[in-house]
């Protein structure tokens, strides 16, 4: 099964991450809208790593099959400060940085599954899945 990995350290990597996921989604025959959704979600999450985790992270992209359906799973891992209050971070309009506070909640709206594991001082892992 196809698997890709990109380091996320700076703004250029944010562009690389969304380009990678868009091309994987195209290979998996996702519709134009579905590709755009996923690439936008990836852009938000990759940028969060650059902004809040000091750019010490990576994204792994994997095609997944379950039953008769196929999808794409992206796992974002960073060794940043962690998220103290995940529920708060998921709220729209909440931001500790200079943004609309739409990154995380916006990404969640664009994918079928989003889960967060975070430990303060250790890092954060966010997993998203989009089904075709």
């Amino acid at each position: 099964m196809t698997q890709h990995r990109v380091a996320i350290g700076n703004e250029q990597d944010v562009v690389a991450a969304r380009q990678l996921v868009r091309s994987v989604a195209a290979d998996e025959q996702f519709s134009l809208l579905a590709r755009t959704r996923l690439a936008t979600a990836v852009s938000e999450l990759a940028r969060n790593i650059v902004r809040y985790a000091g750019g010490s992270g990576q994204m792994e992209v994997e095609c997944v099959r379950e039953g008769g359906r196929s999808g794409i799973r992206c796992v974002f891992t960073d060794r940043g400060p962690g998220i103290a209050d995940v529920d708060l971070a998921m709220q729209e309009g909440f931001s500790t940085g200079r943004s609309l506070g739409q990154g995380l909640p916006g990404a969640r709206r664009l994918v079928d599954q989003l889960s967060i594991e975070s430990e303060v001082g250790v890092g954060t892992q966010i997993t998203i899945v989009a089904w075709r």
Binding site: E11, T36, R37, S43, S99, L100, Q102, L110
Partner: protein, 130 residues
């Protein structure tokens, strides 16, 4: 290295066409350049063509709305043109309705919205064909 996006001056209109993958720093630099041009020239209108953008996330949306708001404070109007339908749908799904953003389908419609029209001038023009 981030790229620089050129700003074309068509008389009182600043025309920008974003045809590259937009990095954050590039977007912020463009915003700065537009504001400088508005301050230093007699331009009173800005048209930003984003038909080359496949993805507009919350940051880029923020830069676009901020640019439009700042232009307004400098007595200019800013219209965003050429947004792809799938980009518009994704922004909406994210909950970003962006009511403060003026939009038009393409550059021509954007110019019209700002009160300018592309018109053919009758007769020969020296140095070119009319």
């Amino acid at each position: 290295m981030s790229t620089t996006i050129p700003i074309l001056r068509l008389g009182p209109v600043l025309l920008i066409s974003v045809q590259v993958e937009l990095q954050d720093a590039t977007a912020e630099a463009l915003q700065q350049d537009i504001l400088e041009q508005l301050e230093q020239t007699d331009a009173d209108a800005v048209v930003i063509d984003i038909s080359g953008l496949d993805v507009v996330d919350s940051f880029i949306a923020r830069v676009l709305t901020d640019t439009a708001s700042m232009a307004r404070l400098l007595a200019a109007r800013c219209v965003i043109v050429g947004m792809k339908p799938e980009v518009a749908m994704v922004l909406l799904e994210m909950g970003l309705v962006l009511p403060e953003l003026e939009t038009a389908l393409d550059v021509r419609a954007g110019l019209l919205r700002l009160g300018y029209a592309l018109r053919r001038v009758a007769g020969e023009v020296e140095g070119g064909r009319a």
